[in-house]
C-alpha cells in the first residue's frame, strides 16, 4: 500500500531515465531529440499527477460535482505541450541545417569533420 502511494512519481522518473539515456547514449541527433521529448513528457506526467485528487473530476465547474482536480498544473502543461512541439521543431530544423552543412546527423562524425576541417570551418 505504501509503495503504491508513490507510483506516479516513479513512472515519471522511469520515463525521465529512459529519455536521459537516449540523450546521452545515442549519437544520432534525431534520436537525441526523441529522448528529449520523452523527458518532457516525464515532466508533464509529474505535474499532472501532482494535481490529481482521488475521487476528483475534471475542473469544469458543474453543480453536480464537489471535488475537482487541481486546474493549475493543467494550465501549465497545456501551454508547455504546445511550446514543446515548437521547440522540438527548432531542434529538428537545427538538425536539418547540420545535415546540410556536414552531411550527417551522427555526433561523432560531426566531431571528426570539425577537427579535420580546422577551426575556421566551425
Amino acid at each position: 500500500m505504501d509503495i503504491l502511494n508513490h507510483i506516479n512519481y516513479w513512472a515519471a522518473i522511469a520515463l525521465a531515465a529512459i529519455g536521459l539515456y537516449a540523450v546521452v547514449a545515442r549519437a544520432n541527433l534525431i534520436k537525441k531529440l526523441i529522448g528529449l521529448s520523452l523527458f518532457q513528457t516525464a515532466v508533464f506526467l509529474l505535474f499532472i499527477t501532482v494535481g490529481k485528487i482521488t475521487g476528483g473530476t475534471a475542473p469544469i465547474l458543474d453543480a453536480a460535482y464537489e471535488v475537482y482536480s487541481n486546474p493549475l498544473p493543467h494550465v501549465l502543461i497545456l501551454t508547455a505541450i504546445v511550446v514543446s512541439v515548437s521547440t522540438l521543431a527548432v531542434g529538428l530544423a537545427l538538425a536539418i541545417a547540420i545535415k546540410r552543412d556536414y552531411g550527417t546527423v551522427e555526433e561523432d562524425e560531426i566531431h571528426a569533420e570539425d577537427s579535420a576541417a580546422g577551426p575556421d570551418k566551425a
Binding site: 475534471a58 469544469i60 497545456l78 501551454t79 505541450i81 504546445v82 512541439v85 515548437s86 521543431a89 529538428l92 530544423a93 536539418i96
Partner: protein
C-alpha cells in the same frame, strides 16, 4: 502528391469538418475542454492534411508564407493589445475587468479575445513550421 483515390476523397470530405471542429473548439473553450492552443493546432492540422494528401504547393498558395507570418504577428499583438487596451481603460495590464461595466463580463470578453489571439498565433506558427520543413524536400 498522393495517388490513392480513397485518401483524396476522404481527405476532401474531412477537411471542412476539421476546420469547423477547430472553430468550435476555439469558441467553446469557455464551457468545455478546448481553447486557443488546441484550436490553433487543429486548424493547422487541417492544412497539413491537405498538404500531405494533395500538394504542398497548392496548400502554400492557399496559405502563403508572408500571410502566415503576418498572422502570427497579428495573434501575438492581439493578445498584447488586449492588455494595453486595459491600461487605456484604466485597469492593469491583462486585467480585463475594465473592459465592461461588470468586471466578470469584462473578464469573459477579455478571455475570448485572448483565446482568439492565441489560436491565430498558434495556427500560423504551426503552419510556418510545417511549410518550412516541407519546402526543403
Amino acid at each position: 502528391m498522393s495517388d490513392f483515390l480513397v485518401l483524396r476523397v476522404i481527405a476532401k470530405l474531412l477537411i471542412p469538418f476539421i476546420l469547423l471542429f477547430g472553430f468550435y473548439v476555439q469558441m467553446h473553450g469557455d464551457y468545455g475542454p478546448g481553447g486557443g492552443f488546441q484550436a490553433g493546432v487543429i486548424v493547422a492540422a487541417a492544412f497539413v492534411l491537405y498538404a500531405i494528401v494533395f500538394d504542398v504547393k497548392t496548400a502554400r498558395r492557399v496559405a502563403p508564407m508572408a500571410a502566415l507570418v503576418s498572422l502570427a504577428c497579428l495573434g501575438v499583438l492581439l493578445y498584447a493589445g488586449v492588455g494595453v487596451a486595459n491600461l487605456i481603460y484604466g485597469g492593469r495590464f491583462l486585467e480585463y475587468g475594465a473592459l465592461a461595466h461588470d468586471p466578470a463580463h469584462g473578464n469573459h470578453i477579455g478571455i475570448l479575445i485572448i483565446e482568439i489571439g492565441v489560436g491565430i498565433a498558434v495556427a500560423a506558427v504551426m503552419m510556418i513550421i510545417f511549410f518550412s520543413f516541407a519546402r526543403r524536400r
